[in-house]
């Protein structure tokens, strides 16, 4: 796969005995990790296993409590990201850190601007940025405003930035979570090219399909400790899952569920909207979801899936059409009224809509309960003992890894944040739930757990709309799959009778049926 096969003699990076604690939480415990030139080394583990923490230590964002970092055989101390950058380490974060209002060029050169005396030398900056941009095949006007680019391009921009600063060690923390399958393929081609050029890459992902597609070696972390480091060709998916979870019975296939019932719960007819900022307008969408049924909505991002989710829950208003829940017209109702009638919603952007990022875990969990208070109850204690106890129960029931119900949401790992959202929405015992990217950034074991909860909900006759960019997810859970393209439903398939390839064809509009489902 890369030059690793030529038995590269000495590692460029060695992390030895790294330990890092946050108060009572042990995020890393005696972790060992090494990296060879030209190697793509995957780091996997459950949510909260300590992957991001380890990488932040390597990038100088956290100081370890114990352990040493060696670069090219020499022990170094990385006190701040600038130190790491000077040692040729670059990191693309789980959540992008670009300044949306800046131009592409400004973002690439930010913090390392060429020019004298604080003056920005535009010409030299463009010159310096051209090399890395060409290496990535990024054909962009450097003056484009970053916020207007799609996620995949923003990601390439992040990598460009890392290359611009001369990184030889590139850390990618869940880079594919926001990419479509095609974009992911492109990224992998790029990574392999970078590795072939001699860069070393650390790649974090929860999708084993991806890990096996790019990695030379795989290191598994569990509960903050290294379980194993093994060449990828000596491993298979079930071995990695077993190492990650400590269980050998994790189901990676289709979830068994009751057959859907007959009565229609959600019925959408002629739904159209105006153009969304980052999404297509809906164009007379029709579909029905029956009790206990899971309808998957597939599509390349930006073809109206976000618009559909927001219009269903009511944070966006339609121009025309009708949404009915068990016979009640929801179209003109506010979000709270829709929720009171039994509609639930897991938003795709968990940091913005899913949880109060600066609030506590309990504040995130209790939103449903607190919504139901009316009139003078609004002056009552928001978090009485009983609700606090309930919060603690939810943390253990959904296995949310956190120091407690009063921890701030932003201290939780990504997957654990998502569990807060799922716990809150499923505990409402909804008649119908709209799930937008419900397991983005969630680990395999937790995905299985959440799927089981979704299966339980359907056994209670809950209708499920599953909007996902992950075709595996759609195929594992849905009864029927609808494909969206440019704001229209272009295809309908039975999940057990279709394939990734067929859905992929529909998604690019290649096989458009011309019928509005």
């Amino acid at each position: 796969m890369s030059s690793n096969d030529q038995a590269a003699p000495s590692p460029v990076l060695e992390l030895q005995g790294i330990t890092k604690t946050f108060g009572p939480v042990v995020a890393n415990e005696n972790v060992n990790f090494d990296l060879y030139p030209g190697e793509i080394h995957a780091l996997v583990g459950e949510n909260g296993a300590g992957k991001t923490t380890l990488m932040r230590i390597l990038f100088g964002m956290y100081r370890p409590n114990a352990g040493s970092i060696r670069l090219g055989g020499r022990e170094v101390e990385l006190k701040k990201p600038m130190d790491a950058i000077e040692h040729g380490i670059g990191m693309v974060h789980q959540h992008f850190m670009l300044v949306p209002s800046f131009s592409v060029l400004e973002n690439i050169t930010l913090g390392a601007e060429p020019g004298a005396g604080g003056l920005f030398d535009r010409g030299r900056a463009e010159e310096a940025a051209r090399g890395p941009m060409e290496r990535l095949g990024l054909a962009l006007d450097p003056s484009t405003v970053t916020g207007s680019l799609n996620v995949a391009t923003q990601q390439k921009l992040e990598i460009t930035k890392v290359l611009y600063r001369g990184a030889k060690i590139i850390i990618l923390d869940e880079p594919t979570a926001v990419l479509t399958p095609q974009e992911t393929e492109e990224l992998f081609v790029l990574l392999k090219k970078l590795a072939a050029d001699g860069s070393s890459i650390i790649f974090i992902s929860h999708k084993l399909r991806e890990v096996f597609a790019v990695a030379d070696r795989i290191t598994v972390l569990r509960n903050g400790r290294t379980v194993s480091t093994t060449p990828a060709r000596d491993l298979d998916a079930s071995a990695v899952v077993a190492a990650m979870t400590g269980r050998s019975d994790v189901n990676l296939g289709r979830i068994t569920r009751n057959a859907p019932e007959d009565d229609v719960v959600l019925s959408v007819s002629g739904l159209s909207t105006a153009k969304f900022e980052h999404d297509a307008a809906l164009d007379s969408i029709n579909f029905e979801v029956r009790a206990g049924e899971v309808v998957g909505i597939a599509g390349v991002e930006g073809n109206g899936q976000s618009a559909l989710a927001e219009t269903l829950i009511g944070t966006a208003a339609p121009l025309a059409g009708k949404i009915e829940l068990a016979g009640t017209d929801l179209t003109r109702l506010a979000v709270s009224a829709r929720r009171d009638l039994g509609l639930s919603y897991v938003p795709e952007d968990r940091h913005r809509e899913g949880i109060p990022i600066n609030g506590s875990v309990l504040e995130g969990l209790a939103a449903g309960t607190l919504r139901r208070h009316r009139g003078w109850n609004g002056l009552a204690n928001a978090f009485p003992r009983a609700l606090q106890a309930w919060g603690t129960d939810m943390i253990s029931k959904y296995a949310i890894r956190t120091s407690g119900r009063n921890a701030k949401c932003h201290t939780l790992s990504g997957g654990n944040q998502q569990k807060i959202v799922m716990a809150r929405e499923l505990e409402e015992q909804p008649k119908c739930i709209v799930l937008a990217q419900p397991t983005r950034g969630v680990d395999l074991g937790a995905i299985e757990f959440l799927y089981d909860r979704i299966a339980e909900a359907t056994a209670r006759s809950c209708a499920v709309v599953l909007i996902s960019a992950d075709l595996d997810e759609i195929l594992r859970l849905s009864d029927r799959v609808l494909v969206m393209y440019r704001g229209r439903m272009v295809a309908e398939e039975t999940a057990t009778e279709t394939s990734r390839e067929e859905l992929g064809m529909h998604m690019t509009g290649a096989k458009a049926l011309g019928t509005a489902a």
Binding site: S101, I355, I357
Partner: protein, 384 residues
């Protein structure tokens, strides 16, 4: 190009990295550090206070006085005995109410810089209710005055909140402008149609005695309004930090998209918190009349609305820190007056000190970055 802030952002990724792109540019935010142990949270405010004290000592010494004894005399004047404490406190009563009022709106993401205007409107309402209705049972009359003031202040702020919620008129602008409109209108009322003919300057008629709070400590001007203030502070703390409504308002302020998606009516929260904020500012104004001046006059506010806005910013909209900062503020003012009496150091010393402390505290509370966020917000509004 704004490289400065952006670079700072890079250098401090622990805190920022968790914030999603959208959130970061969306709102100036009172980011939470409640997780910190109390002792560590007190270090910085204590540091600011010590720095302020040292500055005072230097200024006094520069005027040729023995710094420690002079400062001691000032502090003795402010806090030396129960009567001086009462005097120090009496001046600050309206400011306590107005400050927690501004905090409340800020908590739901609304910058109510219209506090000054709402204070004037409340003072005018109370002065009219006190002078033109009654005399009657004192408790009832006072209640009526405060209620009038609360309704007037509340309606004004609610209207401005509604403009934001329904029409997207930025409340920073609308509340700012409302100050001048209201103050000019009140000045017009006090100098023309409602002027007390017995007086030369622009004042309204004196209120009935039944509309005045009684002194609870002789010759200190500390009145039973103190109890009203205590009750209001406690109630506002509960409302903002503990109640279901407070939860909704805080979520609206910190994560508006989360609030909207989980069924909190963001519009309602914004309007209601503005209304409550305005009502508190109105009551602050009413206290100026009913607990001290006895009538409305054109300069009655003396800028306490602006002080309230600053205190809300410094205390990052938390009610308890706000109450502490108001107390500190009262003591500084009073001590400066004491120093003036034993030396020729002018009481403007307190202004210098207060400015210094505000700058230090503002830097700590990240107010400058908040203003940057505001600037970006305007840019964003324009883009639409």
């Amino acid at each position: 190009m704004n490289t400065q802030t952006a670079t700072a952002q890079q250098a401090d990724p622990q805190r920022k990295s968790h914030l999603p792109e959208g959130d970061r540019r969306r709102r100036p935010k009172a980011s939470g550090r409640a997780g910190m142990p109390l002792a560590r949270r007190l270090i910085q405010p204590a540091f600011i206070l010590v720095a302020g004290l040292i500055m005072a000592l230097v200024l006094i010494a520069a005027q040729g006085y023995e710094p420690f004894s002079t400062l001691g005399a000032g502090l003795d004047y402010a806090l030396g005995n129960p009567a001086s404490i009462a005097r120090t406190l009496a001046w600050g009563l309206p400011l306590f109410v107005a400050s927690i009022g501004v905090c409340l709106a800020y908590r739901s993401g609304m910058f109510n810089i219209g506090a000054e205007g709402q204070i004037y409107a409340g003072a005018m309402a109370a002065a009219l209710a006190g002078a033109y209705i009654g005399p009657m049972l004192s408790g009832l009359h006072l209640l009526l005055c405060l209620l009038f003031a609360a309704v007037v202040g509340g309606l004004i702020a609610a209207g401005l909140g509604w403009l934001r919620a329904a029409w997207g008129v930025d409340e920073v602008l609308s509340t700012l402008l409302s100050n001048y409109i209201i103050m000019l209108f009140c000045a017009y009322l006090a100098t023309s149609p409602l002027r007390d003919p017995a007086r030369q300057s622009g004042t309204t008629k004196e209120v009935f005695d039944t509309a005045m709070f009684g002194e609870i400590m002789p010759r200190t001007q500390l009145t039973s309004a103190l109890f009203v203030v205590i009750v209001l502070c406690a109630a506002t703390w509960w409302l903002s930090e503990r109640s279901v409504t407070g939860y909704r308002w805080r979520m609206t302020g910190e994560s508006p998209d989360f609030a909207a998606a989980s069924g909190i009516s963001v519009k309602k929260a914004r309007i209601a918190s503005m209304a409550t904020s305005g009502a508190l500012c109105g009551i602050g104004g009413a206290l100026l009349v009913t607990a001290s001046q006895g009538r409305f006059w054109t300069e009655i506010g003396t800028g306490i609305g602006w002080d309230a806005v600053l205190i809300a910013l410094i205390s990052r909209a938390r009610p308890v820190p706000a109450i502490i900062w108001v107390s500190v503020y009262c003591i500084m003012r009073s001590a400066a007056r004491g120093i003036e009496q034993v030396s020729t150091v002018p009481s403007e010393l307190s202004l210098v000190l207060i400015s210094g402390i505000i700058i230090a505290a503002a830097a700590r509370a990240g107010i400058f970055s908040q203003f940057t966020a505001l600037k970006q917000r305007f840019a964003h509004v324009k883009g639409h």
